[in-house]
Amino acid sequence: MERIKKAFLKDSSVNVLSSFLAVAVGLIVGFVILLISNPSQAAGGFGAILRGGFADMRSMGQVLYIATPIIMTGLSVGFAARTGLFNIGASGQFIMGAYAAILVGVKCSAFLPGITLCIAAMIAAMIAGAVWGSISGMLKAYCNVNEVIACIMMNYIGMYLVNFLIVHTVFDSLRNQSMSVPGNANLPKLGLDLIFRDGNSASSANGGIFVAVIMAVVIYIILEKTTFGFELKACGFNRDAAKYAGINEHRSIVYSMAIAGALAGLGGALLYLAGAGNRIDVVDVLAPEGFNGIPVALLGLNNPIGIIFSGFLIAYLTIGGFNMQLYDFAPQVIEIIIAIIIYFSAFALLLKNYIELWRMRGHRKPAAPEAEEAAT
């Protein structure tokens, strides 16, 4: 056990380091762009990004609120990646889950008492997401359709289907949006809104963040500790060997996608049950939270625990971006800066390899200085 712990600590320190380096590189490039677009305001604007979520207590609450759904979609993408699948369909699964949560929240509010309404809505969202994910999984497993293609198609089908369903079930025709869920369907605030507030303006922080963190831990345990996770990972690494070992590789793929879908679907529920009055717009736009899950998962190196932190980090930068509006920057520039930082975050894996190389060289005896020189 001691040895396992040691090895884990060593590897994870490299992982953490590489993720931080990736973000640092992103920030530097972002700063350069700020300098180019508006030199006089660059320092202030950059400061706003850096201060980001720490600007005040309300901002910190907003970080929690924004992080919640992208941690969930990040988990969805990361979990699928660990089992050898690229789930680019988190967007469709997310919106299906969101719709299911709103539907249950609105339609069942009369007869489901207290917290059960909220739980029922979350379960409905997970089921809807799981169904949506498993369709891509089944296409992959039984018809050999590449999951990327299937997922992309399911994103659009999901989006249009939800728009259609909203109009026929929970439509608010004045706003051209879905209805928002009644108050008793919302996630409990658990006092977070009172802690994270700035004077009278409360943040949208709510109990959803705990749900997200708990799900990350659950996924970590499934992947690392259980027989089920062992099978799913074996399938992801080598489908043929998994089959040879008697693992039903078709079923494993479907399960992987169903779980990934359930996670994204729950993400949808956590956003629309947040008590911030969120509604689904009836417009032809794919839910961006689904795609934001991809950099979150990449930056977290597909590790569920890492994904919690990368979710927080990206939420933090997003808040920083809002705060940048105080300075004289076009909103597009802000978007670009955030995008660049996220983009560079994706280099975490690359940097990890470099760090490992560097670490290996550090192990080498100092007897070969000329080799050291030549290698650099």
Binding site: T227, F230, A234, F237, K243, Y244, G246
Partner: protein, 508 residues
């Protein structure tokens, strides 16, 4: 200076291991020089140093007596060093010609001038007897022809020093003969060849001199003509190795595997790839299925082990019908399977050794408790198997399977499968690509299992192995069993005739 390439006192260390320890390799102009060593002896590392992929801690490389700096593959190419890798580096949907000129295309204002290249390639092909169709796609030609393309690639780049990395591992006996001829032709034309291998027959046949490495150390360089195979293998392994297999007569027991009328249809063509195959395997005997590759051996084994659907016929294991059962149920009924492709089927390369060792058992109560894996037990069990089967790896049970040598990967699979204590052990090409020491070990293990009273069904493409190890030989040709013979009563020539379908024997 008579040496075209010299590597003097090369030392290369990796964390925890000295891969090359003061190694000297001298290649004369116009010779075939064999580099002999077991898996993990440091042959690949030495070649990577020669190609500038690794920088040695000590030692120099000389060409024609002058010290040269090799800091990357481009330098190696400039020095005229070319290599045919064990796994070919070809673009499968390009033609032969396109592959040969890839990277050194002759162009005119950015437009390819294929005609010149074609003329040159055809010239080379005629001169060295390397017949290829320049317009065939790589994916359509045989492995032997692909190798010729690799050789042509080196010749087209005017390389003088040609390195062949285990070139015969993927070839049929006929293709090997052909390759030997080509290699001799190349040195006759003034090229120098470095021939990496662990097959002694080939060294005796083709090489002039031989350098032997063992566990990263330089053992010596000998004239092949003055050295016997036994001496070479002793230099390589470090102890006396019996090249023939010793075993007592089989004491056969009950019928363990009973196959009757088994047919398997190809998914692509719909034709029978295994047709009407009937045979038994008894406890305590090794039955070997011999045949030229692609005559239905693989499909037969897949059908037996549940990995492929049998269209008709039946398979009984220990009296229980297991035809088209689930793979796991077949395993639980007492069949273990050492698959032919250890990377594709046998191992999850990204899992560590311990995980791979429990790949067939992780779900049993020994390793699982209410859905959770018992890690302590997994690692304890892995250490036990590592000890029992002498599996060597850098970090013990925690070594990623990918980083282990081929012989030790195979040992791990054999350990896992034998430890399932099966009634029937199916073993497909268990020694493919392995060195003498590992082959000896694996044969001994299979015979040990058989002597313990297990039934062993082996598939092998190597006649020598078939003749040495088996108690009974079944020959398969175009999906049918054409002979059922006793290895003591049959000659190589006869087997060859059965295998090529020229003769049909009486089968039950």
């Amino acid at each position: 200076m008579e040496y075209i390439i010299e590597m003097c006192g090369v030392t290369k260390e990796f964390p925890g291991i000295i891969a090359n320890d003061d190694i000297t390799l001298q290649l004369r102009k116009g010779e075939i020089h064999a580099l002999l060593g077991e898996n993990g002896a440091g042959k690949s590392t030495l070649m990577s140093v020669l190609f500038g992929l690794y920088r040695p801690e000590k030692g120099v490389i000389k060409k024609n007596g002058e010290i040269v700096e090799v800091s990357g593959p481009n330098d190696a190419t400039r020095l005229g060093i070319g290599m045919v890798h064990q796994h070919f580096k070809l673009v499968h949907n390009f033609t032969v010609l396109e592959n040969i000129i890839l990277g050194v295309e002759t162009t005119k204002r950015g437009v390819l001038k294929m005609d010149d290249a074609r003329k040159q390639v055809m010239e080379l092909s005629a001169r060295y007897g390397l017949e290829v169709d320049p317009d065939a796609l790589i994916s359509d030609i045989t492995v032997g022809q692909q190798q010729r393309v690799e050789i042509l690639k080196m010749l087209y780049r005017e390389n003088e020093i040609l390195i062949f990395d285990e070139p015969t591992a993927v070839l049929t006996p006929q293709e090997i003969e052909e390759l030997m001829k080509i290699m001799k032709g190349l040195v006759a034309e003034g090229k120098s060849i470095l021939f990496i291998t662990h097959k002694l027959n080939e060294i005796k046949e083709a090489a002039d001199r031989c350098t032997v490495l063992r566990k990263g150390r330089y053992i010596g360089t000998v004239e092949v003509s003055d050295t016997s195979k036994e001496e070479l293998s002793e230099m390589m392994v470090g102890r006396k190795v019996s090249l023939s297999v010793e075993k007592e007569d089989a004491k056969t027991g009950d019928v363990i595997l009973k196959v009757s009328g088994l047919c398997v249809k190809s998914k692509v063509s719909g034709k029978n790839v295994v047709s009407d195959v009937t045979f038994d395997v008894r406890a305590g005997e090794i039955v070997c299925i011999a045949g030229i590759d692609g005559n239905g051996q693989s499909e037969l084994v897949y059908a037996l082990s549940g990995m492929m659907h049998a269209d008709s016929g039946s398979v009984e294991l220990n009296g229980k019908d297991i035809t088209n059962e689930k793979i796991r149920n077949i395993g639980l009924s007492g069949m273990a399977h050492i698959p032919e492709d250890r990377h594709k089927y046998g191992l999850v390369l990204d899992y560590n050794l311990a995980y791979n060792l429990v790949l067939q058992k992780y779900y049993t109560p020994q390793f699982e408790k209410s859905g959770f894996l018992k890690y302590d037990e997994i690692y304890r069990y892995a250490d036990e198997l590592i000890e029992k089967f002498d599996i060597r790896s850098g970090q013990g049970a925690r070594t990623p399977a990918r980083s282990m040598s081929g012989g030790n990967q195979q040992k791990a699979i054999i350990a896992r499968e034998i430890d399932r204590e099966p009634y029937l052990l199916i073993s497909v090409q268990p020694t493919r690509g392995l060195d003498v020491g590992a082959i000896e070990y694996i044969h001994a293990r299979l015979i040990e299992e058989r002597t313990k009273g297990r039934a062993v069904l082996m598939v092998s493409l190597e006649l020598e192995e078939v003749m040495n190890v088996s108690d009974r030989i079944l020959v398969i040709y175009e999906g049918r069993l054409v002979a059922d013979v006793d290895p003591k009563e049959v000659t190589y020539q006869e087997l060859g005739l059965y295998m090529s379908g020229a003769r049909k024997g009486a089968t039950s």
